[in-house]
Subunit: 118 residues, 2 copies
């Protein structure tokens, strides 16, 4: 896999990018739900933290039984053990990225990990 | 920090979400560049892979000297050593999320890490 790679947006219900992009520190999926449609199950994770980024539209997340509304641009962090279910709103489709990362795997970041060039 | 947390989109030039959301496996920044404006330096990373998700508009990434155009919905993976510089297009602003994760930190994911509930 090249040192960099790009995927072009599609309108498929779900696209998983780990293998497409050669990711090694995360899985990223792009999800498109029509209005009124939700993921048909509740799930949680053994080791992975998830970060959801709302790309367009409006949706609802049920997180350990608590209902959270979200819309384009919002970012939601969910710890591994949280029981979660994501849906589009009844009157709006929703598109979101879901990023899975290993909990506590990040060490240095930004200024402590980056090297600047002139 | 709660087991889940939400951040509401803002139009600031750059918002870093690691501390805001209590992230432990990634740093996520939300970046908004006006048309014709670019990050004013080239950088690379020691240990972190970056994943860029274009949220709106059009931009250009220069990756190890190669120019890559991107637009809303595109996802770009960049290995740590790649020298990178991101800009908005001359005629369009761009908004993107930048996700920093430790290279090779992901182990099991999706079906191998998730537990389904009825």
């Amino acid at each position: 896999m090249s040192k960099f790679s790009k995927w072009n947006a599609k309108q498929d219900p779900r696209t998983e990018l780990h293998d497409v992009l050669g990711l090694t520190g995360a899985e990223v999926s792009i999800n498109n739900l029509p209005a009124g449609v939700g993921v048909p199950f509740v799930h949680y994770h053994k080791k992975n933290e998830e970060i959801y980024i709302a790309l367009s539209g409006n949706g609802t997340a049920v997180l350990d039984g608590e209902k959270i509304e979200f819309s384009e641009g919002d970012v939601i962090k969910v710890a591994p053990s949280v029981k979660r279910q994501f849906s589009a709103s009844s009157d709006s489709p929703v598109s979101y990225a879901c990023i899975q990362v290993r909990e506590n795997s990040l060490e240095e970041y930004t200024g402590a990990d980056a090297v600047m060039e002139k």
